[in-house]
Amino acid sequence: MKRIVHHALFWPAVTLALLLVASSLSNASFLSLSWRDGHLFGSVIDILNRAAPLMVVSLGMTLVIAVRGLDISVGAVVAISAAVAALMIGGSFSATGEVHSDYPLWLALSAALAVAAACGLWNGLLVVKAGMQPIVATLILMVAGRGIAQLLTGGQIITVYYPPFFQLGNGFLLGLPVALWIAGGLWLALHLLLSRTALGLFVRSIGGNPEAARVAGVRSSAITLCVYTFCGFAAGVAGLIVSSNVKSADANNAGQLLELDAILAVTLGGTALTGGRFQLAGTVIGALIIQTLTSMIYSLGVPPEVNLVVKAALVFAVMLLQSAEFRGVVARVARGGSAA
């Protein structure tokens, strides 16, 4: 029992469970699942599908934070990736009524991901080679990136007409959303990479004590560079899912404030913002907590004007629940109460 309570994922999991219970109390059909059109259907599936982009971005963010960094440009990179993909796929109707993409789908997707990874590499170079503070280095791309996306799209919302692309954000595979498979696959790949190779040890040593890692011969710069590049790549994947989901690219709004949700998801999942210890599975749970909160607010019918205030209040409550200090105070008060 004690081992379960002290497991790093215990409190994130408890938080998520409480939110799910609260949701099902306010909406009796919340937890019900049914089979429709050859796939699972229900609020929970909807949450999993919508949470996928955030999960993907947050996984990249987890590693960046683990090496004592921060990437606040991920939202802008989502927009860039979405814009590149939408522009290259586009779609036009042929005489027979069939839709063709402007470039082959694989090429468009690869190009979008390559551009996103290049954005990550740029961030990494600023941090590692130019020695900038991560928050300042990535602030540059946060501002400039959205500008680049707008430049690409000419300030317009680019609509995509090519149906195969829609599968990423709307399709189902074996009864579950494709987006969820992508996020799950990425998590599994990262998990294996970090636990079955030395990468996990290197990342934790760089985050724990960068100077000691360097003295021990760890190639900290190269690894940090890779981590930022991967974070950009992950934001690119999220951009593809988002633009596929809405069948268009909106340079102004795609991925807006996603960087903050991602940092929140990482924190909720139990990764220390000071670097070193990280929890990939915790991050996934953190992303689910945020999406469940958002869905809950909608389903409760909270008016849009107070939406953000309600969300802030809920996030505050969640953070309190996860704070060991706060739980200690509560426990002391409870003990003191029973003693008196």
Binding site: A198, N209, A212, V215, G217, V218, G276
Partner: protein
């Protein structure tokens, strides 16, 4: 002092446990007015924990503390200070950007009356600080910024600050570890003046000679338990070490014929020509052979650490070719050095040695894994085997190899860092102050280990501020002075020879001082 001296502080039957470790059990401590009392023990014996209990950092699990006959329970360092128990820690903690007077009165600045506008009375602050320092016989300009003072004066000012609150008990935790002989003398003069004023002083150090110089009594701890209280005159150094260790200690001696004798025909493991870095080291030549311990001696700031860092490519060199086994080597960053079979135990363990939150096993595996790269992964089983073997070989005291290294005592952390490099089977191991802050027995074990390494064919560059240690383990000794090579001493040179070379008293070297100093 006599047995009749009045008892100021009496701690009885103190116990304190941490997860997996009983840090203190049944510990007794009696401090008397006007006496200097030494607290002795190896690393991990419980000295720091006892001090933290006395100063209210930790609450004891059991036991009582009496101050002037009244039971007290210090709840925090500030509370302890209010009770009259002050402590000065290893590195002085003055705020560098404040003046000496501001530092001394920090937290209890004299106020001006409200009628005159309130606020802090700065002239009064300076007056009080001057008065305190004068009373202690310390000559110091109180308006000067503390950060600009030499380490020794900072240390004196810290002691002054500690006793400014009318301390009845003053705890000095390794106050001399970063001071040179002259500075120690000044500190001891201050300690004696405080003693004569009736302050009870608890003195913690690893330097046995200092204990005998200044202390009246001592309390010895071993593995968290009370071994005994002794009058200094009645227990000699040998007996003291035996009490601390629990057995007699063998003294490491270098073998009469170094293992390098047979290595003459090989190219040196490492040869560097003209190695320099602006502002840190003037051009130096250095050569290390298989199985040889090269001692590097010199005063603080003579360029010892700088030379080591250049060899391991932690800093970029401005000039110099480095040859490994006779081959010109690409050596531009620590990862290159690791690939070439070099190892480096840094001087500053906390900042550049340990990764505190990682386990002992992970800390040991780190360098070996870094050399193997990402492609090949040491499995958990392999990591465990390596860690278990080295922990046993070096006698690291840890609850398990999965314990975070940050929870180990300083000496044990040092052993783990050495284990990290032994795991890579280095051909050259650079040890920068490996014995700093670790106890007598651990020092002996470490030096045995170094000699054992050299016998196995590893070249060792041994850097230490303690000349006696350098002389004891080294085959050859290189002396640095003013960031340049002062000279080299052959096998068999004694401490005096090293000192005279450092002091430039050797006439042969006197005539040829390093250029451009």
């Amino acid at each position: 002092m006599t047995d009749g001296a009045s008892i100021v502080l009496k701690a009885r039957d103190i116990a304190r446990a941490f997860p997996g470790v009983q840090a203190l059990a049944g510990v007794e401590l009696t401090l008397r007015a006007g006496e200097v009392h030494a607290l002795m023990g190896q690393n991990g014996a419980g000295k720091s924990t006892l001090i933290k209990v006395l100063t209210g950092v930790y609450a004891p699990d059991a036991g009582s503390i009496e101050l002037l006959g009244k039971p007290v329970t210090p709840e925090s360092p500030i509370h302890a200070q209010e009770l009259g128990i002050s402590a000065v820690h290893q590195e002085s903690h003055l705020l560098p950007n404040l003046s000496v007077a501001e530092n001394i009165c920090a937290g209890r600045y004299p106020r001006r009356p409200w009628k005159r506008g309130g606020g802090i009375d700065w002239p009064e602050t300076e007056r009080r600080a001057r008065e305190l320092l004068a009373g202690l016989g310390i000559e110091l300009d109180v308006a000067q910024l503390a950060g600009g003072l030499p380490a020794a004066l900072q240390q004196l000012a810290t002691v002054a600050r500690a006793v400014a609150t009318d301390a009845r008990v003053l705890i000095l935790d390794e106050p001399t570890s970063s001071l040179d002989a002259e500075e120690v003398k000044a500190l001891f003069a201050l300690i004696r003046r405080l003693r004569d004023k009736g302050v009870a002083i608890l003195f913690v150090t690893h330097f046995l000679d200092q204990v005998y110089e200044i202390c009246d009594r001592m309390t010895v701890l071993r593995n968290g338990k009370f071994v005994g209280e002794y009058v200094c005159g009645k227990l000699d150094a040998r007996g003291l070490v035996a009490a601390m260790v629990g057995r007699e200690v063998a003294v490491a001696e270098r073998s009469a014929t170094p293992a390098s004798a047979a290595a003459g025909e090989h190219a040196p493991v490492l040869a560097a020509n003209n190695l320099s870095r602006r502002g840190q080291l003037k051009p130096v030549d250095i050569e290390l052979r298989h199985g040889e311990v090269l001692g590097l001696a010199g005063l603080l700031g003579s360029g010892r650490t700088e030379l080591a860092r250049l060899l391991f490519a932690l800093d970029k060199r401005d000039s110099g070719d480095i040859r490994i086994d006779g081959q010109a080597a690409k050596l531009d960053d620590p990862a290159d050095a690791l690939k070439l079979g070099l190892g480096f135990c840094p001087e500053d363990r906390k900042h550049s040695g340990i990764v505190a939150e990682l386990s002992v096993r992970e800390n040991i595996a780190l360098a070996l894994q870094a050399r193997m790269g990402l492609g090949k992964f040491l499995t958990l089983t392999e990591q465990r085997q390596i860690a278990e073997k080295l922990v046993a070989a070096l006698g690291v005291k840890t609850a398990s190899i999965e314990t975070p290294i940050g929870q180990l005592s300083g000496g044990n952390q040092q052993k783990v860092i050495i284990a990290r490099w032994l795991a890579t089977h280095p051909r050259l191991l650079i040890l920068d102050e490996p014995t700093r802050g670790i106890d007598v027995a651990a020092k002996q074990e470490l030096m045995q280990e170094i000699l054992g390494l050299a016998r196995g064919g590893t070249a060792v560059l041994f850097i230490s501020a303690e000349i006696e240690e350098v002389v004891r383990v080294s085959d050859r000794i290189m002396v640095l002075r003013d960031r340049a090579k002062a000279g080299e001493l052959p096998p068999g040179a004694d401490e005096d020879a090293v000192y005279s070379m450092i002091a430039q008293a050797d006439p042969g070297h006197h005539l040829a001082p390093p250029a451009g100093s």
